[in-house]
Symmetry: D2
Subunit: 400 residues, 4 copies
């Protein structure tokens, strides 16, 4: 079957192959560790604890999918000694054939951050937090990792307990101080989130705030869109279009959600939304160029590796669908306000079943057709479960 | 009883009197007309039809409250002949002692705007819309009205039917063209709204988009916050704080809502939120200076005049409460993260019953103590009902 | 390609053919009329005004899709003289080969319903409203139409203005009185909606309230699920499962939405949700038996007929996808908590491109392959536009 | 000042005194323990660990407020050995003068509950969960505690991974089995929650589901309303009115929230809502009779005891305000649809500053005027911090 744009000679298969050849998505080291909700964690025998285990798991995912060559690192958990752990990471990169991806500082776990990190009313705590950001920049530099990814969990729980405007000043200062340390090839990505873990206000609540901070910090600062960090019913693809126009989109943390920041598998609740986001990127002249694709999910129940492979494959399929949109014809129908035809032009790509072609692409690239099936049968899971089970059997903390 | 800040010598009464002396809120001409939902209108005998009736009603509200000296005008409904209607408005200002307030263009009613006004894919329609904006600027100039208030109802109903990025370009062009016509004392206020009447995307969906448009347009463009134009659970006072910091807050359309843009009486669903918004304004060095307060409500069931008087009085009371916050002490408690004390410091002003002092202020300023009671008994309602009843008894349109 | 359940011998094609043969969805007469938002209507030349035009349009949709044999009627608009209009409807049924579907009373348009219809504090108004319901039952009886569909738009706009518990009593009384008039083959379907047109409270806000009313009224009362009448993020398929278990599901009003009750084309925003709803119905032993499928949409911008044909075809495709779910295998995977496999089992049916098979089914049933293309070219639209254009060119009402 | 109903001779002071004399609210043992979000806990020196510490803290709150005579217990944390711990609790009751309140089973912490407790696809796990419920009933019986409070955290994270209808059957079975064990004076309260910790579906998502379960279980089963367990914008007081009408309201878990189940201090975000809930209870003939008031909050940042005292005092004040509503006059105004007057009748009680009268009540009942101030100065906090600090200084678990 040929799914063909009017002015393009490429076949559907060619379009999908081309799309998949150019598609990569970063996976997070913490996606292989035990995580949960405030009510507890359900531990998994195969969960990774050490950074080496995480590299090993990432390598397995990449071997199966061919699409996850980098591993996002979390400074506190993966480089507990900070910059001095960089050589260890370099060795692991070498050993496992997976590169270090974005570097993620941690500004929420220390007890000192009870009332905020870079927004804390205490100058001493703010300085400590800024230093951690600066250290993270240095780590990224050492690892040749382009992006430092900033999620600032600061906020307040009750009206009146903190000064919102004063904390904006603190934000501006910290972002500028961090930006000043970036090397010529480095970037900082500023994430926003309207709720959790602070309940009344989160200091960087939406893309507008993140963009103002990025602008204030400097030309190497960009906005990071986590798809789960939005109000219900918010049109994310529209935000993407605005950020692209402002040359301010740095990347994505992909995940899905029904109510809050549920950190579910990409496209598992609303696959059509992911497709529309990819559409905005693909219809922009250089939408893909500077945009980092990252997965940020918390698989509390699904098997850690199984879910990660599923996520990467799911992202590939939705991206392949979006690559089938006949952009030229769509633009014409939009111009003439031929609404139903324009809508069907878009949806026709969504409804096309790309799975057989994706399987064909995998074969042609020396991969197994069905990465999930391969993972279930190739022995890797049994091996790591046997190795890690004992370490994962310890008691877990209680809610109260 | 003395409600006193530590370093301030003013009594509670003095603070409230001072706050009320400085408080004014604009009321909208369309607030006196019959309005409804898509399912129909419940017509009121006293509803105003002509612009003179609206001026008369506004004068009545101002006479009762002492706080609504200006009337927002809607170009299409109040100046149907555009600029040439300006002398008529000037005469009415003179006659009724109420000044023309913000000028509100209409870019949603004409059948040509089916697929958008300034974002329409047709260049001809976009030009027509821009011309209407330019005319509105001229009307404002003639009437010595500072603000042109832009609500752009454009958007699309289905994914793919319109190009979001192309429409951003159109927005930028129209805003710049309008700004170019502003006189030295004029401002344009850009409103945002995340839903309705377009369903899938509204072209100016949030404050971030409005701010980017204002920045692009020029120094006389500001953002207008309509309190009903937000996602559920969005922290509006935080947006206010950011806009204040960016010198970009132009004013408010006040109303309240439970679910969508319900256009209910200010503070009728969540009075604490209004208090917190006033708090952000009052704690900012010049938060009140450039900020226009306007009511934009649709009283489908309540009596038109009764609801307007209630709204102005309710706004006065909430503003008076906010003026009682001991800002200095609050700042200290926030600095020390004394959370419960800071919260109680804020709430203590909210819980103080300002009504007796507000009544005393009214007496001292030559007003009746109870404007609602006065309205019910002074004969104005009977008079206008008698005059207007017949005109308001015509058939109303059906949903389908 | 064969998409096959383990224990079932049917091919994918057979499953889809069987599903489509059994699938019908009712379309609403008001879906062919001009409708809009509170800010206005964009009139369409082809919009139907008379009940005959609506029957003609419905017949056209059914001729093209083979799946919409009945037309929902709105008493006020389609039978303005009530019961005495029944013979006219019978004649139209005969003439156009489309049967009268559910009968929809109107309890929101009359000026007397300002403070409610069956919940009005005035006993006289309540009686008038009940009489309208009783008349609607009689109309349905005369037309051999099984279902009377009750949407009660009652509610209040402000806390305290109406007594919620007293109005529950009124609801109970009215539902019982209506139920008492139902013939042995008749049913009443009770719709719920949490917002609009009342803003603070709607008297039948959710499925729990509708179910209690149905239980109280009697065995012929069922709940009607309008997919747009839910809170954001509400899991509709779960409600469907509960209503099925309680033998209380009467039918659906299908439409889609992003924020509020946007009345968009089914599956246009979240097609996966519709698929999941169909899945719950198909996995229930007699989920389809008593469940009426109806479209209730308001196409403010899309062409009236075009959108209706698109809706019916879209519903067919999503239903066909759901029919491919391997229920037996899914149940096993769920039992063993093989989460990713169970999820992929479900999604595999969603991702299967049913369109070629649906086209084949159409050919085999004597229909055109592409109903939308056929509508655009068969001359019907030109004909009715020419006939109706003038009537639709009249002035439309203004918001204020 | 006299705030007086037309037919009632009571003064405002008398009404408030009477209201406060009849007001009690249960506090939860886990409210004194360290709790947090999935991202971590900020530990407090004064946090209670043992059940004796929790009784001591509860006694302190009750001594200060005079309004919290009972302590809700959590079986897993407070009676880790189940029924055999009952004598210990009895001794603590005696020693501290605070009675055991509702008994709360735990069905979410055990690793076996990964895929659900009473809804688990494994019959063995379901049986284990039911046994825990039955044990909890026995504990309640031994402690003469009327209510067993059931929060079922079961659900699923992805469409298709669990069978919703099969799990409804399991729910029905478990509720019936638990009900069968209740003594003549015992009750079971069934809580609902639409999100968290399961993300795609929670098995008891709303009040309708809880009510059906209660009805199925038997006459001693009631619904528990946790104010934080609702969709955004949901009208909780309306649900209260329906549950009262159905004689199905068992009690409340009070807390407040902005976005999700934030478990904030009652009335801290939307105090007007709490007032309206109390209004529905007070306007019902026996609304207060069977309704248990409980606090269920998680003070992650506020001092544990400080926040609990603040919560009880805040609840007292809002209840006192609601007691001032002139129900008779309100009913008349509602009957006549005098909307603004009815609304102002309701709000007038909300705006009345009850704090001076509440202080007077405290004095007259032998309590300190300002419980929060008393707590800050009476030495209790210093004492328990000194005793407990070391135990609370251990390491806390990490998110990943």
């Amino acid at each position: 079957m040929v799914f063909q744009g009017r002015n393009e000679m490429k076949t559907t298969d060619e379009k999908i192959f081309e799309a998949l050849d150019g598609f990569a998505i970063e996976i997070p080291s913490w996606g292989f560790a035990n995580t949960g909700t405030r009510f507890g964690k359900f531990v998994q025998a195969e969960a990774a604890t050490s950074i080496e285990e995480k590299f090993a798991d990432a390598a397995q995912v990449h071997a199966l999918t061919g699409a996850s060559p980098t591993l996002a690192l979390h400074v506190l958990w993966d480089l507990p000694h900070g910059v001095s752990d960089a050589p260890l990471i370099q060795a692991l990169q070498q050993k496992y054939g997976v590169r270090a991806g974005s570097i993620n500082p941690n500004l929420f776990q220390d007890q000192k951050y009870k009332h905020g990190s870079i927004c804390n009313p205490s100058a001493e705590v703010r300085q400590m937090a800024i230093q951690h950001l600066v250290d993270s920049v240095e780590i990224a530099r050492r690892l040749d990792s382009r992006d430092v990814s900033l999620w600032i969990a600061d906020g307040s729980n009750y009206p009146g307990t903190q000064s919102i405007p004063r904390r904006i000043d603190y934000l501006m200062e910290a972002m500028a101080a961090t930006h000043a340390k970036l090397g010529p090839e480095q970037r900082m990505l500023i994430e926003y989130k309207p709720f959790e873990p602070a309940f009344y206000h989160t200091d960087i609540a939406d893309w507008g705030m993140a963009l103002l901070l990025a602008r204030h910090a400097g030309a190497k600062a960009f906005v990071l869109v986590d798809t789960g960090h939005h109000y219900q019913a918010q049109n994310i693809e529209q935000i993407v279009a605005w950020l692209l126009r402002e040359d301010a989109l740095g990347g994505f943390h992909f995940n899905d959600r029904r109510y809050a920041d549920d950190d579910l598998t990409i496209g598992s609740i609303d696959p059509y939304q992911v497709f529309r986001i990819f559409h905005e990127l693909l219809s922009h002249p250089y939408g893909l160029k500077q945009t980092a694709f990252m997965i940020d999910q918390s698989h509390n129940l699904k098997g850690k590796l199984e879910a990660m492979v599923q996520s990467v494959c799911g992202a590939q399929e939705l991206f392949a669908k979006a690559a089938l949109i006949d952009q030229e014809r769509l633009a014409e129908l939009q111009k003439d306000a031929r609404l139903v035809e324009a809508e069907e032009c878009l949806r026709s790509a969504f409804w096309f079943d790309v799975r057989p072609v994706v399987r064909a692409w995998r074969r042609s690239r020396g991969l197994r057709e069905d990465p999930l099936e391969e993972l279930r049968t190739n022995g890797y899971l049994e091996k790591v479960r046997a190795e890690r089970r004992e370490r994962n059997s310890g008691s877990v903390s209680s809610y109260a």
